[in-house]
């Protein structure tokens, strides 16, 4: 039996050896699988994983440029960058977002608006990037949070630069404002250049000159650890800050223009005829642009939007009004330039005008008629019949050509975003938009700035400046010069000039003389603004809001919002023009009574520093 036992053991041993060899083979095969995987990872996919590893630790961080500042003509700051503090939450570092926000709400006020914004921004962020839960922390908020910050890992106070408009409502319609970049903005911008930016110009010069103001984004490579902490910064390309803008705008004149408008709804545009510089561009009522920067609340915005006075509406560049009689001197010039009429040619005004073969009577504002009168008197007394006749003789095409050369019918191209172009009606336009033929009667009323003819205050001011310049149309602009930074030279913006096709100085002199007489002469419609110090050339206008259908205009019987718009255009001093002004007072009544004093006060303020006397609200309506 021991023998058997012995052989058993030997058999056991060989069985074991076979099995041991098998497991050894198994081990070798299993390790071969691991080695194969290692070769795959470390050799074949090495580059991919290297990239992933670099992506992990190197974060390309955009360095947003600081936005250019905006100054007025005398160096007063109109748009500033101020430090602002926001409270951010980094979701990766927070175990329960909801609880954290609730707990934060115990420390400092967090509104539903804040929560909504937070939820909105949450999906659009990078890993380990903080999302703002509160904006614009004041000192008290920051102090409150500082005391308990240890309880809130992952919640940090972040300092940024935020846009601030020190002059507030006075610049809303000119400088405009910036706001958070919207989806629609994203379609129009070079997204990579805005990688670190949160805001973009929305309206005004902030938008029109966005490219200058924004600058170029910079980049840095930051080595970060898994918790997103920046351990090392390397290889920077510095951002190029946006250019500072120096405007023609004179903020004091701007305030004077607003004060002169007083409680009226309306607009004032003042230009320097020599440069096209916009000295003042007021639209009343106005609003404070600052709340728009951080994101204005829904109810605050609704209040502005639904205000019947429409403070958000920029009347100076978007308000399109029938220019009324303020167009007459331009039509007169068209007549002279085209040779249709001479300065001495007389037209008889019987109080109405009839087209040959038609029964409709186009009335002059003076029912009794002006009798026979030449151009000078026609402009001074604003005779409608004279211009009905002149318009008919010119024909719509020829009249339009000259009016267009004064900038009517299309945007002036000023550097304020949102400008509208008004409307210079023409047979072609009517066919295109209404699919109707042009009637001769329409030409008649275009001659007195009525009908479908629309112009903005900015267009009127620019056209008036072209008369002051005796035929040189200068494109209006806000930005006088730009500067890369403090200490760099100011680079003036180019002036854009178009010559109006009339080289005869006598024509211009005749027109200007008539405009002077409007203010200075006997029977002039703007006599109340004449003064002994310098001469003003002007033209009043009144545009109908409500068609009287042959009835009699009686301001006392009509509700205010159906009153006529009062218009006035002027420039001064006549010999050496320094300022051209267009004023419109919505439902202000007569141009001479309401609009002219506003322009007069503004001109006197600009040329002599005379304070604005009270407000224009006291002025009576009616002619």
């Amino acid at each position: 039996m021991p023998e058997l036992d012995f052989t058993d053991h030997r058999e056991d041993a060989s069985l074991f050896t076979r099995r041991a060899l098998m497991v050894a083979l198994l081990a070798v095969l299993a390790l071969a699988a691991v080695v194969g995987r290692l070769v795959q990872l470390q050799v074949h996919e090495h580059e991919r994983f290297s990239t992933l590893s670099e992506d992990n630790r190197i974060r390309i961080q955009p360095l947003p440029p600081s936005r250019g500042l905006i100054y007025d003509a005398h160096g007063v700051l109109l748009a500033d960058n101020v430090p602002s503090y926001s409270l951010t939450i980094t979701p990766e570092k927070v175990s329960n977002l909801h609880d954290t926000i609730e707990a934060l709400g115990q420390v400092l006020p967090i509104s539903d608006l804040d929560r909504e914004r937070f939820r909105r921004l949450l999906p659009h962020r990078r890993r380990f990037e903080g999302v703002p839960i509160r904006l614009d922390l004041d000192d008290l908020d920051r102090a409150r949070f500082a005391v308990v910050s240890h309880r809130f890992p992952g919640v940090d106070i972040q300092a940024d630069l935020s846009r601030y408009y020190p002059e507030g409502e006075h610049t809303a319609h000119v400088v405009g404002y910036v706001g958070r970049i919207s989806e629609r903005d994203m379609e129009e911008i070079d997204v990579s250049n805005y990688a670190g930016s949160t805001h973009i110009g929305k309206i005004g010069v902030e938008r029109a000159r966005e490219e200058w103001l924004h600058g170029r984004v910079g980049h840095e490579q930051a080595v970060v650890n898994a918790r997103g902490r920046v351990l090392e910064r390397r290889r920077q390309t510095a951002p190029v800050p946006g250019r500072d803008l120096h405007l023609f705008l004179d903020i004091e004149l701007q305030k004077a223009a607003e004060a002169a408008l007083g409680n009226e709804r309306g607009a004032v545009v003042a230009l320097d005829p020599n440069t096209g510089g916009i000295l003042a561009l007021a639209s009343m009522p106005t609003y404070d642009p600052n709340p728009f920067v951080g994101g204005i609340g829904v109810s605050a915005f609704a209040a502005l939007r639904d205000d019947p006075e429409k403070p958000l509406y920029n009347r100076a560049i978007r308000g399109q009004y029938p220019p009324g009689s303020t167009i007459k001197q331009f039509v007169a010039l068209a007549g002279l330039a085209s040779g249709v009429i001479g300065t001495r040619d007389r037209v008889h005004c019987s109080g109405a005008f009839q087209l040959p073969g038609q029964s409709h009577r186009y009335r002059c504002w003076r029912r009794s008629g002006h009798g026979g009168l030449a151009m000078h008197a026609a402009i001074v007394q604003s005779c409608d019949v004279y211009f009905y006749r002149l318009a008919t003789d010119l024909g719509i095409e020829r009249m339009n050509r000259y009016l267009a050369s004064f900038g009517f019918g299309e945007r002036t191209g000023a550097d304020i975003a949102g400008e509208l172009g008004g409307l210079l009606p023409s047979p072609e336009w009517k066919r295109r938009t209404r699919n109707q033929p042009w009637f001769a009667g329409e030409t008649v009323i275009v001659g007195i700035g009525q009908g479908a003819f629309l112009a903005t205050p900015l267009q009127l001011a620019a056209a008036t400046a072209a008369i002051a310049n005796r035929g040189r149309f200068v494109v209006p602009r806000l930005v006088r010069a730009t500067r890369a930074g403090i200490g760099d030279p100011l680079e003036p913006t180019p002036m854009e000039v178009r010559e109006i096709d009339d080289k005869d100085p006598q024509h211009w002199q005749a027109i200007i003389d008539a405009m002077v007489a409007v203010v200075e002469g006997p029977g002039g419609t703007a006599r109340r603004i004449r003064n002994p110090h310098y001469r003003i050339a002007g033209k009043t206008g009144t545009s109908q809001v409500f068609s009287l259908r042959g009835g009699t205009y009686n301001a006392a019987r009509l509700p205010k919002h159906l009153h006529d718009h009062a218009l006035f255009v002027a420039f001064a001093p006549v010999e050496e023009p320094r300022i051209a002004v267009a004023v419109i007072v919505e439902n202000g009544g007569g141009g001479g009574a309401t609009a002219a004093p506003i322009a007069g006060a503004l001109i006197d303020y600009y040329l002599r520093g005379t304070p604005i006397p009270g407000t224009a609200a006291a002025s009576s309506s009616g002619r």
């Binding site: 053991h9 056991d12 041991a20 081990a27 699988a33 691991v34 050799v43």
Partner: protein, 374 residues
């Protein structure tokens, strides 16, 4: 002149110091090399923490001491201890389940006042010992009855450990038992039957798993499904290894580990640190070294004079391999995430003590051979 320890190799007839200490030189050298390498890697993985390296060195020293002591114990004595050791281990396991301290959501530790002790570690040794002891007394290859007894001896502790829950240890203990049975010559039809029933049991196992365990399996099957959550470990580990390339980023220069993208980098995922810093040039020799140690263990097993020695030495060597394979497989993304350390390199003393105690027994089996034969 000759180095003292090398004498027995140069002249097998003259027993050297090592032989007198019952130590096996190739095994010892391999294990020492592994531990030394492990300390270097740990220095990097722990972000230059001398404290951690010193503590680990101390633990390894203790583990080597235990190995030395066990190497002196003759296999006959080991055989006699097997069953009592298993019973003690099971009692302790039950104690853990009853009063065990909760660590990482699982009951694994027993606080003995001075040291905290994981009874499941004891079973990694006791189970193969007991199985080897039992099967050595029975005719081989084992008959069905013996297989069932053995399966019972294995499954009771495995289930108790899995209940803690400690999937990694349960796997190791189970594989230790399976290795003994396989080396004992378990018949192929039985093997296939067991495999088939294991496959059939998989759904039941799935139901018994805790949520985090299921999540691990799911994440393993598709790491991209949850790149910021559970898949993060696997993904970052593969990025670490892959970005190491052939030559590696250099010792102490791994960005994945030093910038904390790699989780558990000084414990379960330390292999990824090696892959990142030393590259393929580091991982291949390391795997080679492990293989040599395993093969040496199997060689010793094959040379063992009796069935108990063969089965125990073979099983212990293969458990060491399973450690390696499960860990490396997990780190390179071949296997799901299971909490098994890289043997003798991962930070932590418990597994090192168990492993080196096992190798102490292997050495005992090898070095007591001549006396038994003579």
């Amino acid at each position: 002149m000759s180095l003292p320890g090398l004498t027995p190799i140069l002249d097998p007839r003259r027993p050297g110091y090592l032989a007198r200490l019952h130590l096996d030189l190739p095994l010892l050298l391999g294990l020492l090399l592994l531990c030394g390498l492990g300390l270097l890697v740990l220095y990097s993985a722990s972000d230059h923490s001398r404290l951690q390296v010193e503590r680990q060195a101390l633990r390894l020293g203790l583990a080597f001491l235990i190995m030395l002591i066990l190497a002196q114990v003759p296999p006959a004595l080991l055989k006699r201890w097997s069953l009592p050791l298993l019973l003690i281990g099971l009692l302790l396991l039950l104690a853990v389940l009853a009063v065990g301290e909760v660590g990482k959501g699982a009951q694994r530790w027993l606080d003995l006042g001075v040291v905290r002790f994981q009874p499941s570690e004891l079973l990694k040794l006791a189970v193969p010992m007991t199985l080897a002891w039992y099967l050595a007394r029975r005719p081989l290859p084992p008959r069905l009855f013996d297989v069932l007894v053995a399966a019972g001896l294995v499954s009771v502790p495995v289930l108790l450990i899995a209940k803690q829950p400690d999937l990694g240890t349960a796997l190791l203990v189970g594989s230790a038992g399976a290795m003994v049975l396989f080396l004992a010559g378990l018949r192929w039809w039985l093997i296939l039957t067991l495999l088939a029933s294991a496959a059939a049991a998989a759904p039941i196992l799935w139901l018994a798993m805790r949520d985090y365990q299921r999540q691990r399996v799911l994440t393993f099957l598709d790491p991209g499904s949850d790149p910021l959550g559970a898949g993060w470990h696997i993904l970052q580990s593969q990025i670490a290894i892959g970005s190491g390339g052939i030559e590696g980023k250099g010792w102490l220069k791994g960005t994945q580990s030093h910038l904390e993208f790699l989780p558990e980098r000084s414990t379960d995922f330390i292999f990824a640190v090696i892959g990142e810093e030393l590259g393929l040039a580091g991982t291949l020799p390391l795997l080679g070294l492990y293989l040599l140690i395993v093969l040496r263990g199997l060689y010793i097993a094959a040379k063992a004079p009796d069935v108990f020695g063969r089965l125990l030495a073979g099983a212990l060597s293969m458990v060491f391999f399973v450690y390696l394979f499960v860990n490396a497989g997990m780190v390179v993304g071949l296997l799901p995430v299971v909490g098994v350390p890289l043997p003798l390199i991962s930070y932590g003393g418990t597994s090192a003590v168990t492993i080196l105690a096992g190798f102490g027994m292997v050495m005992s089996i090898h070095t007591h051979r001549k006396r038994l034969q003579s």
